[in-house]
């Protein structure tokens, strides 16, 4: 018998598309691969969904996506965090359309089924028509597995994968270092810039540990800062490094002096922060704490890329969300000091506005470059994306592999994890 429906097969298996030093262009362009990625990557590992500060109180919630599935991240009365599929168990309507807020329950607007903060089904209007057949206990909002590390909340559809801390592995110590920008106050997400670009999500994933592009793509940003800051950002020839941390995670240390924000507090205060330091002193804050805050305001000197969807980058969280094979949504969430001096937080906000977001001096240029990658990827059907930069100097390190600051080590790490997950 002949098959009336053509079976769809990828020309090659995903494993053949990732070599040690290059990946095939179809990784950006093949819609079937994209669908497979949703299943094998986004629905099969730990996905970052929120920072704890985004849902501070009982009843605080945020709606977001895992892959293409809408979810709600919510803190219940006992302060436990739940990640619930945003889909009513009756006929499937979303139960929450706000980006964030505070509530006692989620009431579906279609027929009024109501759910508690932990997702359990509380009430059904006019239950008489169900007689006794409706077991409310069987129809809660679907709840995912949730684990946290140092304020970062992750969720997964899988009950059988390793605990979050094992998945993060050596990345944990970098998360701890990153959180030092709270300067002793809490780390708080205070809003985010959202934008979309017409390109594949992996193009942005690569970018987080790509120092190579910085002096070129961000020339106009560099022209807009003072001498000292310019020097600080001139890291491509510097002593920084990129390290593969396993499981697809990597760190790019641009400014080694700013790895530990609580070290070298007696270094001179940069010119651009002198006025801030004076204002903090005028508020009666002790010199040591003034220095700690000032160092924290500039952010950490590294980008930590956590596979597959979040980065801790200098002074913000960078979150990516795949939309389609050639569209990606990015959120740049600004970090402030919870309860810290308002003047310091204002500096943070203004620094963020300067570089990030659709009107920043940095992001639109990144976005344009990524867009060009997607467009260029249409040229030629059998070409490869080169990822061999920094290979000759790459060495084994305690946590994985290490090479110079503009090496493509971080991208190689991410693609090896992609290959592993896509071949599973």
């Amino acid at each position: 018998m002949t098959n009336l429906i053509e079976t769809v097969n990828l020309a090659s298996s995903p494993a053949d598309l990732v070599l040690h030093d290059r990946v095939h262009t179809s990784l950006y362009t093949d819609a079937r691969l994209f669908d497979e990625e949703l299943e094998k990557v986004f629905y099969s590992t730990w996905i970052w969904v929120a920072h704890a500060s985004e849902i501070p109180d009982n009843g605080s919630y945020k709606s977001t996506y895992i892959g293409k599935q809408p979810v709600i991240v919510v803190r219940d009365r006992k302060k436990d965090v739940h990640v619930l599929l945003n889909r009513c168990r009756h006929r499937g309507a979303t139960v929450c359309e706000h980006k964030k807020g505070k509530t006692n329950s989620f009431v579906c607007p279609y027929h009024g089924w109501s759910y508690a903060l932990d997702g359990s089904l509380r009430g059904v209007p006019h239950p008489e028509s169900y007689a006794d057949c409706l077991d409310k206990g069987e129809l809660p909002l679907v709840s995912l597995r949730v684990e946290q590390y140092n304020g970062m909340i992750f969720a997964t559809f899988k009950d059988d994968i390793e605990p979050l801390v094992d998945f993060l592995g050596p990345a944990k110590k970098w998360i701890d270092l990153f959180m030092k920008q709270g300067a002793g106050y809490g780390v708080k997400v205070s809003g985010e810039h959202r934008f979309r670009f017409p390109g594949n999500w992996k193009i942005q994933l690569e970018n987080t540990t790509d120092a190579y592009h910085f002096p070129l793509v961000h020339k106009s940003f560099l022209s807009s800062v003072d001498e000292q800051t310019l020097e600080l950002f001139d890291f491509v020839k510097g002593p920084g490094y990129v390290e593969d941390l396993g499981n697809g995670h990597s760190v790019m240390v641009m400014i080694p002096d700013l790895v530990d924000l609580e070290a070298n507090l007696d270094l001179p205060i940069p010119e651009r922060f002198e006025a801030l330091a004076d204002e903090l002193r005028a508020e009666g804050i002790e010199e040591e704490q003034v220095r700690r805050i000032v160092r924290a305001v500039g952010g950490s000197g590294f980008n930590l890329n956590l596979f597959p969807n979040v980065a801790c980058s200098m002074a913000f969280f960078r979150v990516l969300q795949p939309v389609s094979v050639n569209e990606t949504e990015i959120h740049h969430a600004v970090i402030t000091m919870d309860g810290g001096p308002a003047v310091a937080n204002r500096y943070r906000l203004r620094l963020h506005e300067h570089f990030q977001g659709p009107m920043g001096f940095g992001t639109p240029d990144d976005s344009e470059a990524w867009e060009r990658v997607q467009k260029g990827a249409q040229a030629g059907t059998d070409l490869w994306i080169m990822l061999n930069r920094g290979l000759p100097g790459e060495k084994e390190s305690e946590d994985g592999l290490i090479s110079d600051v503009s090496a493509e080590t971080g991208m190689r790490a991410a693609y090896q994890q992609w290959k592993k997950m896509m071949s599973a």
Binding site: G191, L349, H352, E353, H354, G357, F361, P364, D365
Partner: protein, 158 residues
């Protein structure tokens, strides 16, 4: 209704729009009061712009840098520069206090760059400080109707 004032502020604001669309940036910078602020918030209900995250919160220094970025030829997202045409209408004078006129209007802006046509709609609220026969911009507040949604890169001055 004070039609004379309405005419006066509309003419001023149209002139500002024309300067931006036609790249007359020195003249545009000169329209501003030294301490004027150019603000594009994210949250439509926000009023404390200084202490919250915006798309832009520019003082004079940042406005000059923004112009420089536009004309400097160093940025791949602003060269080629987007062509823009903005239509402003629905002017309403909200009040005047201490020589500062507050006026709100609607802006529809079309942007064309490379091969894409985009559209941004906003409420704009100006605070215009009387200076002799003319005005200086003390504050320009641009509230995009889709500010809470994802935007694309905006390489020009809204």
């Amino acid at each position: 209704m004070n039609l004379e004032l309405l005419n006066h502020v509309s003419a001023f604001i149209w002139q500002e729009a024309d300067m931006l669309d036609h790249g007359d940036f020195d003249a545009w910078l000169a329209l501003w009061a030294e301490k004027g602020t150019y603000i594009i918030p994210i949250d439509p209900n926000e009023t404390d712009f200084e202490n919250t995250l915006n798309y832009a919160y520019d003082d004079h220094h940042m406005r000059k840098l923004r112009v420089q970025r536009l004309i400097g030829g160093e940025s791949i997202s602003t060269s080629p520069r987007a062509r823009t045409v903005r239509a402003l209408s629905r002017f309403r004078v909200l009040g005047e206090e201490d020589g500062v006129v507050t006026v709100r209007c609607a802006q529809n802006l079309r942007e064309f760059r490379k091969d894409v046509l985009k559209h941004y709609t906003a409420d704009i609220t100006f605070q215009l400080k009387r200076e002799g026969e003319c005005f200086k911009i003390q504050r320009k507040l641009i509230q995009l109707i889709n500010s809470t949604d994802t935007l694309a890169g905006i390489g020009y001055i809204l």
